[in-house]
Symmetry: C2
Subunit: 330 residues, 2 copies
DNA sequence: ATGAAAGCGCTAACAA
DNA sequence: TTGTTAGCGCTTTCAT
């Protein structure tokens, strides 16, 4: 049962007080070079590492960041977790993953827990949450980074910049003389809005066409919902010749149904996904999509948190640029 | 700035000592019913929740379990993380995700950190680690669950039971009169063995054929490696008519190359994957594969850890059964 | 059945 | 430039 080495042990070995050891580590007050050297030697010799539990208790701040998302098993969030973890590793911070299963009660419970446990920070993709649900966390002074399509009040935020990429997608589609644009959207979130849908509608107008209400269907972010949505659209008397999807999973479902119905993609209908999930390039035809890079979101989240740890006080919104990826489906 | 409610606050409100509050929570010594009721009422009224940092400092045990894997972004491990997290949630335990990027130094560093931070447990899929790398962790009394193909010494372990499923795959392939069996294996791990390869070799013999050395190629678990491996196999004068892959990602790469070379799957060559990753059913032809269920691994890991927390002392090995999934590629 | 109090290892006043 | 020391909130031994 290997004994734990404490600061007191290091202090004794270096012939100083434990306060000095602490200050050598934190750099929060000047330490004479020779003292510092002695302490560092003792640390190395004894193999000391700080007990972050004790530090947390003392400072009232843990070294944990909570990543709160609807589903970590979703490739986008999995990649986000991986990147965030690697970026935060150097700061000695661990990432705790929390699944909300898209349920508001879970989202709220997790947020409350982050406050109770005095987490160092929270990175969250809210699904049913409203801006006021964040009051407690921000009041507790816990840095929060929200990754969402819409503004969420006085928190750091990462928002996608999809206008350009979506415009390129529309350009490609309309250049192929397609005018009957449709969308299979994801579920409406708590804010009631749907930025992807609204953006597409706005842009469609600019391209001299439109996104008529009857060509918008809605479902979960699942393959089944994608298939159902596509079937529904094909039933319309005003049949679309281009279908935009809320994400790639939906698009894959649409692809399934198209094959089943004998609808040729992209011959009869052009299909555009969203996110560029790993499998977007695996299906046939390969999915033309709007890529939203999880790695960059993770890096931005880590950077925003890092700035907050350093005590910077202004809330920032970082925009992450989505990229149009032209493949075979449109 | 909302004040934190401590046990002392609860004790004061209930007219008892903080020790009693602690014992009401832990049940480690009898408390009079009316005392208990008073304490519970105070807890509810004040909205008290224990400070797990303080508890950890005192007990020398945190409420964190580390999930140490080569890559959380890998769908298998992402699903494992999700399940583990949900199963452990009820025990008040958080899951910290740790990426090793398949590097031994990272694996060792993470294991060492788990000891230093007195984690409540570790769930690990070792990649380059040897059994003796676990000595420190077990000596520290930290429950370890290893998910691997081979035995790893005195730890709880989850091992796949793939014999039956692999036999079924071979049955299907040989029933179609295929005899020239090949494999695109993953990288050789630190133990030097490759159970999937060895199992296939053994079974092939039983089916009256073999897995000749020249029909075994090896690479990383990537799409590129799969493509390269397949190309190499198609170059052999003794050309295989059935190719087994170390995992589904490799199989997808093989599929890419087959299409490029004009090799018909399954007409010319049958292709069998491994794991049943999400995209196995997305590619065309859909992948015939040996499904290894991450959910069950996660549940088993949580169960094993739970037993250890309860103080059960024997090391157990849980076998998780893989399942043959027949689709179009073989 | 309950309470008093020590102390886990660290940080940050306050002193010198 | 460095040391002394008081806690952070909890668990648990020792008393009662």
């Amino acid at each position: 049962m290997q004994e734990r080495v404490t600061m007191a042990d290091v202090a004794r070995a270096a012939g100083v007080s434990s306060a000095t050891v602490s200050y050598v580590l934190s750099g929060k007050r000047p330490v004479a070079p020779e003292t510092r050297a002695a302490v560092e030697a003792a640390i190395a010799e004894l193999g000391f590492t700080v007990n972050s539990t004790a530090r947390s208790l003392r400072t009232g701040r843990s070294s944990l960041v909570a990543l709160i998302v609807p589903d970590i098993a979703n490739p986008f969030f999995a990649q986000l977790a991986a990147t965030l973890q690697e970026e935060l590793r150097g700061l000695g911070i661990h990432v705790v993953v929390c699944n909300t299963r898209a349920r508001r009660d879970e989202e709220r419970a997790l947020l409350a827990e982050a406050v109770q446990q005095r987490f160092a920070g929270v990175v969250i993709t809210p699904f049913r949450l409203l801006p006021r649900d964040f009051e407690a966390v921000t009041r507790a002074g816990i840095p929060v980074v929200v990754s969402a399509d819409v503004p969420f009040g006085p928190v750091d935020q990462i928002m996608p910049e999809t206008r350009t990429a979506t415009r390129q997608a529309l350009e490609r589609v309309t250049a192929a003389r397609r005018r009957r644009i449709a969308m299979i959207a994801g579920p409406r979130d708590a804010t009631g809005g749907d930025p992807r849908l609204e953006l597409l509608r706005t842009l469609a107008l600019q391209f001299g066409t439109s996104l008529p209400r009857e060509l918008v269907v809605r479902g979960e972010h699942t393959r089944e919902a994608g298939a159902a949505g596509f079937a529904e659209l094909m039933d319309r008397r005003y049949r679309p010749d281009a279908v935009f999807c809320g994400n790639d999973v939906i698009a894959v479902g649409a692809l399934d149904k198209a094959r089943e119905l004998g609808v040729d993609i992209p011959g009869d209908v052009a299909l555009v996904g969203h996110d560029d999930a790993v499998f977007a390039s695996l299906v046939r035809p390969q999915l033309t999509t709007v890529r939203y890079p999880a790695e960059e979101v993770g890096r931005a989240a880590a950077r925003l948190l890092g700035e907050r740890f350093d005590g910077r006080g202004v809330h920032r919104t970082v925009r992450v640029r989505a990229e149009f990826v032209a493949r075979a489906s449109a």
